[in-house]
């Protein structure tokens, strides 16, 4: 006789097990549903759908694409005030403004609401002191620039003192006076007038190589410029630069280099700039920044310029940050057609290009053609970099140089680095310390 279970018995058993399973599995789900009930119903407005989101106020056009996308995602979702507050906080950090106010109002259709983020205007600081450049290079000595700015009703007046042995073939020291208005009638147009008056000092290597008529003792530059925002993130600077320089030759002749100056600039950021925040979400964020520019300066006899030349420069800079890791890539290429005065010639081998090399060893007069690239990696304060580039006048003189370096760099931009030129034979390191914005 076969022993078996009646088919009906199996079905009953299965049903019993299913009932037990459903009860056991369902209980926590039901309990969870109960816990979820409260948050959704504490705000009666959470049932309304966001009809539109608007961002108003100064700097509102500078919001990164990633944050703008998140703001746009609010449209069509149910109102969640804490989400809006969080977005406002991120806007505050990214735009560096004192406050972003969130306003919610009835929409045009029933059960819909509109959201407005208002970026508050930053209180104008009456008086600012800044040090845009302060650095020591063990081969080129100290360079520094300090300025004081006062702002009155949207007008900024800056007066600065500078002594720079880093940026050009010469050391120039003197004053800068700048008037700037960032908005003239419209947010898209700004104006800037700069006057510089410098005395020059020359390195022995430069004096030995240069024609006496290339060397000048003083230089005054006046640059009226306008900035036009074509469309975000593309800007165009255009203006004229009037430069007068007194030659060192007997008789002290004064020459002029007057040029039309134009720069097309692109600057874009992705991801949230949450520096200073320590939350896990912030450290998990990818933040990228790209900057590129093309400059064309053309000195012509039409403006009574003694030398006639054209100077073209392409610069690109890409930065990416993830957590405490940061990588930076920079590229520079330039070309001068015609004979430019020494202050307009390209220089490599300073605190930002071919670090470790001495600019007077590379080309004591500067070059009319340049290519340069930089790769930097940083983790927390640590940084390591690789520079490569070439500077030349004649094609046969073109020679690629490289350098390596390491050091520390703080969030505020203070850098302490040691850089080595990569070459055969003895490589003397160069120490660089300071801030160079």
């Amino acid at each position: 006789m076969e022993h078996g279970v009646h088919p009906k018995g199996i079905t009953m058993l299965k049903l019993l097990w299913m009932a037990v399973a459903v009860t056991l599995l369902g209980m926590p789900l039901l309990a969870d549903a109960g816990e979820e009930f409260l948050p959704e119903f504490t705000n009666v407005n959470s049932r309304f759908v966001v009809e539109s989101v608007n961002v108003d106020g100064p700097k509102s056009h500078s919001i990164s694409a990633a944050l703008r996308s998140e703001i746009d995602q609010v449209v069509g979702s149910n109102l969640d005030h804490s989400r809006l507050d969080k977005l406002a906080d991120r806007m505050k950090k990214e735009l560096h403004v004192s406050d972003v106010k969130v306003s919610v109002a009835k929409g045009t259709l029933p059960d819909e609401v509109t959201v407005n983020f208002e970026v508050t205007k930053d209180k104008e600081h009456g008086f600012d002191l800044s040090v845009p450049k302060f650095l020591y290079d063990s081969k080129q000595g100290w360079s520094g620039e300090g300025s004081a700015t006062t702002r009155i009703h949207g007008n900024a007046f800056t007066f600065g003192l500078v002594s720079d042995g880093d940026a050009l073939a010469e050391r120039f020291a003197g004053i800068k006076a700048i008037y700037e208005r960032k908005e003239v009638g419209t947010k898209r147009l700004g104006l800037r007038f700069e006057f510089d008056g410098f005395h020059e000092q020359w390195n022995r290597a430069t004096l030995l190589d240069a024609d006496p008529y290339d060397i000048y003792r003083t230089r005054q530059v006046f640059t009226p410029e306008a900035r036009l925002v074509l469309f975000q993130p593309l800007e165009l600077d255009f203006g004229v630069r009037f430069a007068r320089y007194r030659l060192s030759t007997p008789g002290a002749i004064t020459e002029s280099s007057n040029a039309v100056v134009t720069t097309l600039r692109y600057h874009q950021r992705w991801g949230s700039d949450s520096q200073g925040s320590n939350s896990k979400q912030d450290t998990d964020d990818w933040r990228q920044e790209a900057e590129g520019s093309y400059s064309l300066d053309s000195a012509t006899h039409v403006f009574n310029s003694d030398p006639a030349y054209t100077r073209q420069t392409v610069e690109a800079h890409y930065k990416v940050r993830h957590g405490h890791n940061r990588v930076s890539l920079a590229f520079l290429a330039g070309r001068i057609s015609g004979i430019a005065p020494l202050f307009d010639r390209f220089v490599l081998g300073n605190a930002s290009t071919l670090r470790g090399w001495n600019k007077f060893d590379l080309d004591p007069l500067g070059g009319s053609k340049v290519v340069h690239g930089t790769l930097e990696y940083g983790y927390h304060w640590f940084e390591a970099f690789y520079d490569t580039g070439a500077i030349w006048d004649r094609t046969q003189d073109r020679e690629q140089k490289q350098s390596l370096g390491t050091g520390v760099k703080t969030k505020d931009g203070f850098e302490l680095a040691v850089a080595f030129p990569v070459r055969n034979g003895h490589a003397a390191p160069v120490f660089i310390a300071g801030m160079n914005f």
Binding site: N43, F48, S82, D89, V104, A105, D111, V113
Partner: protein
């Protein structure tokens, strides 16, 4: 000898009235073995909290009602609760959620009704003698809603008084004096007895 002028007395009287009206009053009534407390003149939905509500935000208040017996340090009965108010932008009415284990909620109220719905409290007074000296006190404190994250996500405990995610527990809140700048209200009903309430017609 200096005399007090009558108009000074009038000013003092009016000032006292203004203070009394401003802070409201605590009303007690006795029904069977239950003591009912209400504060119809205490209005905390005003100023900045009201502005936040009109901006569709939710605003939490911590409310504590205490009945002392024997002396003013012996707590006979006490309730603590967190009431979260919101203002319906379209219907222009208030909603309140009591974050207790009972999870009560009401809506379509005026501002006054919403306040009273949270403030009205009933205590069981079984075991109290009619001659026992009593004190009653109501404390209301505005809480800052956390800006990052949901107000109450995963934060309601069984007792309904311990909200740890984003909001401080009620026990912790009322164990210390109001922080400087924290908006708060306090009403006290000074020494009374159940016999007093019955004598003045506020008891049955």
């Amino acid at each position: 000898m200096q005399t007090i002028k009558p108009w000074w007395l009038l000013v003092a009287f009016l000032s006292g009235m203004a203070v009394a009206l401003g802070t409201g009053e605590l009303i007690l009534s006795l029904r069977d073995n239950r003591l009912e407390l209400s504060a119809p003149k205490l209005h905390f939905l005003s100023g900045q909290p009201l502005a936040r509500l009109h901006n569709a935000a939710e605003v939490p208040f911590a409310i504590q009602v205490t009945l002392y017996s024997g002396n003013k340090t012996h707590v006979f009965r006490q309730t603590q609760q967190r009431c979260v108010f919101s203002f319906d932008l379209w219907e222009e009415k208030f909603s309140v959620a009591k974050l207790t284990s009972a999870r009560e909620r009401t809506s379509h109220l005026s501002d006054r009704d919403a306040e009273q719905w949270c403030l009205n409290t009933t205590f069981d007074i079984n075991g109290l003698s009619t001659a026992e000296p009593l004190w009653a006190q109501v404390d209301v404190r505005l809480e800052d809603a956390p800006r990052n994250g949901r107000l109450l996500s995963g934060s309601v405990s069984e007792s309904g008084v311990s909200l740890t995610n984003g909001l401080t527990s009620l026990v912790e809140i009322f164990s210390r004096p109001p922080q400087s700048g924290q908006t708060h209200w306090s009403l006290t009903y000074d020494r009374f007895t159940l016999a007093d309430l019955r004598r003045t017609g506020r008891g049955s």
